[in-house]
C-alpha cells in the first residue's frame, strides 16, 4: 500500500466519520489527516506563522470540501496552486454541491477532480473506494519539489 497520506479537509464530523469508514471498509489504510476548516488545512500544508510545516512530506491527495469555516475550500485550493511547493499537489473536490459555478470555479482554480458526495451511503462508500484506489494506487503522483 502506498504510504502516502490523505489530507481530508472537512468540517462536518459526520462526514469525516463516514468518509473514514468508507475508506477503511475498502482497506485503504493510509494515514488520513483531518483538517476541520480551511485554516487548519493551510496550517498543515504551509505551517503556522513562524513555524515550519509540521510534516515534511506532502499528502498523496487532498480531499477538499468547499463550504468550510474561516477559509473556504476555493481559497485553500487557490493557495495550494499559488505556492511553488504545492502547486502540483493532487486536489479532489469532494463536496455536497453540484452547482455548476462551483464545478467551473473548482476546475478553473486547478482542481484535479470534482466528486459529489452521494446521499446514499452505499454509493458514497463506492465513491470513496474509487477515489482511494485511483489517487493512492493508480495515479502517479507528481515529483516532490525541493523545499527551500
Amino acid at each position: 500500500m502506498n504510504p502516502g497520506k490523505i489530507l481530508l479537509v472537512e468540517d462536518n464530523p459526520d462526514d469525516v466519520a463516514l468518509t473514514l469508514r468508507a475508506l477503511k471498509s475498502h482497506n485503504i489504510t493510509n494515514d488520513v489527516v483531518v483538517a476541520q476548516d480551511g485554516a487548519q488545512a493551510l496550517d498543515y500544508l504551509f505551517g503556522t506563522e513562524g513555524k515550519s510545516p509540521a510534516e515534511k512530506e506532502l499528502p498523496a491527495v487532498v480531499l477538499l470540501d468547499l463550504k468550510l469555516p474561516k477559509v473556504n475550500g476555493m481559497e485553500v485550493l487557490q493557495r495550494i496552486r499559488a505556492s511553488e511547493g504545492t502547486r502540483l499537489l493532487p486536489v479532489v473536490i469532494l463536496t455536497s454541491s453540484d452547482e455548476e459555478r462551483d464545478v467551473i470555479e473548482g476546475y478553473s482554480l486547478g482542481a484535479n477532480s470534482y466528486v459529489r458526495k452521494p446521499v446514499d451511503f452505499v454509493e458514497f462508500t463506492q465513491a470513496a473506494k474509487q477515489l482511494g484506489l485511483y489517487w493512492l494506487l493508480m495515479n502517479r503522483a507528481p515529483p516532490v519539489p525541493r523545499r527551500p
Binding site: 468547499l66 458526495k117 446521499v119 446514499d120
Partner: protein
Amino acid sequence: MSVRDWPIKRKLTAILVLISGLVLLLTSAAFAGYQYWSLRQATRDALSVRGRIIAANSTASLAFSNEADARELLSALRADPHIVAAVLYDKGGHVFAAYPADVAGNAVPGVPGPDGYRFERGRLIGFQPVEEAGSQRLGTLYLASDLAVIYDTLRLSGVIGLAVMGVALLAAYLLSMVLQGTISQPILALAETAKAVSTRQDYSVRAPKLGEDELGALTDAFNQMLGRIADQKDELQRHAADLERRVEERTHELQERNESLRRNAAELLAANTELDAFAYSVSHDLRAPLRSIDGFSQILLEDYAARLDEGGRESLHRVRAASQRMGTLIDDLLKLARVTRAEMRTEDVDLSGMARDIASELQRAAPERQVEFAIAAGLKARGDARLLRVALDNLLRNSWKYTAKRPGARVEFASVDANGGQAFAVRDNGAGFDMKYADKLFGVFQRLHSAAEFEGTGVGLATVRRIINRHGGRIWAEGAVDQGATFYFTL
C-alpha cells in the same frame, strides 16, 4: 420706377388725368375740324359774294373798254387786306386790268381758268364770269385771297382750347386727387392691415371698412379671414399647449413607470440573488444531514444487524429510502431553481435532433425496453438550447416512464397547428391521466400517480412549464386514463 410700381394713388390720378386729357383732346380736335371746315365755307361764300358784286360793277368798264374805270374798281379791294390779287379779263381772255397795279405777270394766271371758287396752293381763288343782264359774257374776274382769316381764327381757337385744356386737366388732377381716395383709401387700409399682420403677427387688427362696395366686401372678407386665422391660431395654440401638456404627462408617467421598472428590476435582482444564495446553501447544507441519516442507518444495518429484529431493520431501510428520496427531491428542486435562474441565450435550436439524442439516450439506459419513437424531422425553434433540452428531456422521459407497462409503447414528437400557430406535441400511448386533474399536472410536487406505480418527485413538469414560460410560450396537456397523454407547448 416703372408704372407698374407706382403707388395706387398715383396710378388712379394718372388714369383720371389721362382719360380727361384724352376726352378734351378729342373734343378739341372735333371742334377744330368743324371750325376749319365752316371757316373755309364762310370765306369762300364771302369771296364769291364779293366777286359777284365786283363783276356786276365791272360790266360797264368791260363793255366800253374803260381800263381806268376798271382799275379804280379793282383798287377798291384795298379795303380788304386779305385780297392778294385781282384780275379782270376781257372777252378774249386777255388781262384787262389787274390789282394791285404792280402785280407781277407770273403771280396771276395769264388766262382765266374754269369758272368757280376753289382753294389752290394755300390760297382761295375764284373765276367769276362778268355778264350783262342779257347774258352776254363780257369777260372774267379773277380773285385771290389769302387764308389768314382761317388761320388766325384757328390759332386763337387753339390757344383758347389749350388754355381750357390746361385748366381742365388741372381741375381733373385736383379732383382725381380728392376722388381717388374713395377707391385707394380702402385698398391702402387693407394693405396697411396686411402689413401689420405680417410684420407683427397680430391677427387682432382689422381693416377699417369705408363703404358697401366691392372694396367693402373685400375688406369684410379680409377681416373675416383674419378672424378665422386668429381663431385657428388660437385653436392651434390650444392644441399645442394640450399636446405639450400631454407629452409632459406622458413623460412623467413614463418616468414613473421607468422608476417602478427600475425598482422592480432591482427587487428582481435582489430576489434572484437571494434565490441564488438560497439554492447554493440548500445545495451544500441540506444534503449533508441526509447523508448522515443514510450513512449512519447503513452503519447500524451493517454493524448492529444482529441486535436488531426484522422490524428494526425494516425501519432503518425505510429511513434510508426516505433520506435518499429527499436527496432526489432536493436535487430536482435545485434543478427547477436553476431553470429559473439560468441566463437565457436565444439561438436557433434543432428540436428534432435534440429529441433524437434524448430518445437514443433513454434507449441506451434501458435497452431491454421496446419503445417506438416517431420524431418528426426538421422541427426548429428559437430559444435557449440548454433549457429547451431540459424541457424536452423531461417530457420524453415522462412518456418513456409512463409507457413502461404498455406493450407496443410509442412516443411521438411532432409539430401541430394550435389556433393558427405552431405548437409542438409530445404524445404517448402510456398510462395517461384524468383530464379532471389536468391543471394539477404542472404544479410543484403534484403527482397523479403514486411513487409505487411510477416513481417521480413531481418537479419535472413544473420545471418544463417554467422553461416554456421563460420562452414566452404556453404548455398544456390532453389525455385520458390508460389512453395516453399529449403535451403541447408553444415557444
